[in-house]
């Protein structure tokens, strides 16, 4: 080419569209999240599209649940997803599922943010407690598989004692320490930490996971 012509490179736009479409299918394309993470750890940005498609909803939803404020939740979700990209090589399938690894990072980040805030202002304990009791509505479901899992979870949670349920949900969804949960529930510290443990263990057995 002799002049200063600068035409669009053939096929680039089309291929880009195809890549996005395949990324959107991420979860159903055969490779599991752990497999995609392994590819991400080698710097494959295309593989990260699949990881993003699978985990951004749970990460953002959990951050929203814990932080309540959408803007802050988005900030935390952004930090978590970048952390997943950065630390992908540290995911070890021998030590748990890929989803468990991601959600552990997400929960810790969101809770750390809440604690930092609590240090400054006391939050509205009552409203948090009330909302923590409510399980999510069906409308968050996007995939059949997710919906089934949610139904099972709802069923399993209904099998917990009230103290187990409150202890687990106040800690997990509201980001309270077990001391704060004990205070809210008017229960002894030892009881609350035991209920968190046996509540989760009962869910584990009911859901049939982790064994």
């Amino acid at each position: 080419m002799s002049g200063r012509e600068f035409p669009r490179a053939a096929g680039s736009a089309a291929r880009s569209a195809a890549e996005s479409a395949s990324a959107a299918r991420g979860a159903e394309s055969g490779e599991d999240l752990g497999g995609w993470l392994r590819r991400v750890s080698r710097g494959e940005q295309d593989a990260f599209e699949h990881v993003y498609a699978e985990i951004s909803g749970p990460v953002y939803g959990l951050a929203t649940r814990i932080l309540r404020d959408p803007a802050q939740a988005e900030e935390v979700a952004q930090e978590v997803l970048v952390e997943v990209w950065r630390q992908a090589s540290r995911f070890d399938p021998a030590r748990g599922s890929a989803r468990g690894w991601v959600m552990t990072i997400a929960h810790r980040r969101a809770v750390d943010r809440v604690r930092a805030e609590q240090a400054a202002t006391e939050r509205q304990d009552r409203s948090a407690r009330e909302s923590a009791r409510v399980l999510p509505d069906e409308d968050v479901a996007e995939q059949v598989e997710g919906r089934l899992e949610r139904q099972r979870l709802r069923h399993c949670i209904s099998g917990l004692t009230e103290l187990q349920r409150e202890s687990v949900t106040l800690a997990y969804y509201s980001g309270y320490t077990y001391q704060q949960v004990a205070e809210l529930l008017g229960a002894p510290l030892g009881t609350v930490k035991t209920r968190m443990r046996d509540g989760l263990a009962r869910l584990r057995d009911c859901l049939g996971v982790g064994r």
Partner: protein, 248 residues
């Protein structure tokens, strides 16, 4: 705290319901308690289901921001087993490299870029000053209200991610998986105006596929890359292998 007592903290630990001191104490305990570790592993799977149950569709701005940030975020190398002196499968990283803190990853990416292109790498202080300035510019670009991201394929292999902002009048480009220019040739980047005029942005090595900051977008509509003779050309002499449109 008594050992038996610590052991009952698995649930609270998985829920992140321990204060900092207790968390540290529990982790120290778990390091020599395989049963605790196994229980934590199981309960974490339950927690992940609790998390999945509250999934929500994130706003589109989250995707754009994450894409923009990973483009300039260096990844942590895998942990390796010093006893075997061999890295885990699929990696070629060396043992013992220092972990990068998140705040420094932009600077680290830019350090590679500066090394590759020889930008201002006159002496150490000059280089640090330049890196700090570049890191600041990129983080400002990423938080601009009108930041846009575009990913396009590069002919012959690889892809480019363009992050640009009209209000900042600048763009950042990052490449992955470039196959490399043929012997005696080089990649050259251009800013293109609607009338076809091209302004050289600089030369690029395939091995230095790290973020590049481009300034002065006024009047320009596209960013492109061509393969040129070593040393570069004053205007494009071949069909571009990559063209990405700047946000209007």
């Amino acid at each position: 705290m008594a050992e038996a007592d610590v052991h009952t903290l698995t649930g609270a630990y998985v829920c992140d319901a321990l204060g900092e001191d207790e968390r540290a104490a529990f982790e120290a305990h778990m390091a020599r308690c395989p049963e605790c570790e196994a229980e934590v592993r199981e309960l974490r799977e339950v927690a992940a289901i609790l998390a999945a149950a509250v999934a929500e569709r994130p706003p589109a701005s989250l995707k754009a921001a994450v894409d923009a940030r990973i483009a300039v975020t260096r990844q942590t190398p895998p942990l390796t087993d010093p006893a075997h002196g061999e890295s885990s499968p699929g990696t070629r990283q060396r043992t013992g490299r220092r972990r990068l803190r998140a705040g420094w990853s932009v600077a680290a990416a830019l350090a590679l870029l500066a090394a590759g292109l020889g930008w201002r790498a006159v002496d150490q202080q000059d280089r640090l000053d330049a890196l700090n300035a570049q890191a600041t510019q990129i983080s400002q670009l990423l938080t601009a209200p009108d930041v846009a991201t575009t990913r396009v394929a590069v002919t012959g292999g690889g892809s480019a991610l363009l992050v640009d902002s009209r209000s900042r009048n600048e763009a950042a480009l990052s490449f992955t998986g470039l196959s490399g220019a043929p012997a005696g040739k080089t990649y050259q980047l251009w800013l293109m105006a609607p009338d076809g005029a091209a302004r050289s942005v600089g030369l690029l090595q395939a091995t230095q596929a790290q973020p590049i900051l481009v300034q002065g977008l006024a009047g320009q509509s596209q960013v492109g890359m061509t393969i040129e003779p070593a040393g570069g050309s004053t205007s494009p002499t071949s069909v571009p292998v990559m063209v990405a449109a700047l946000a209007s």
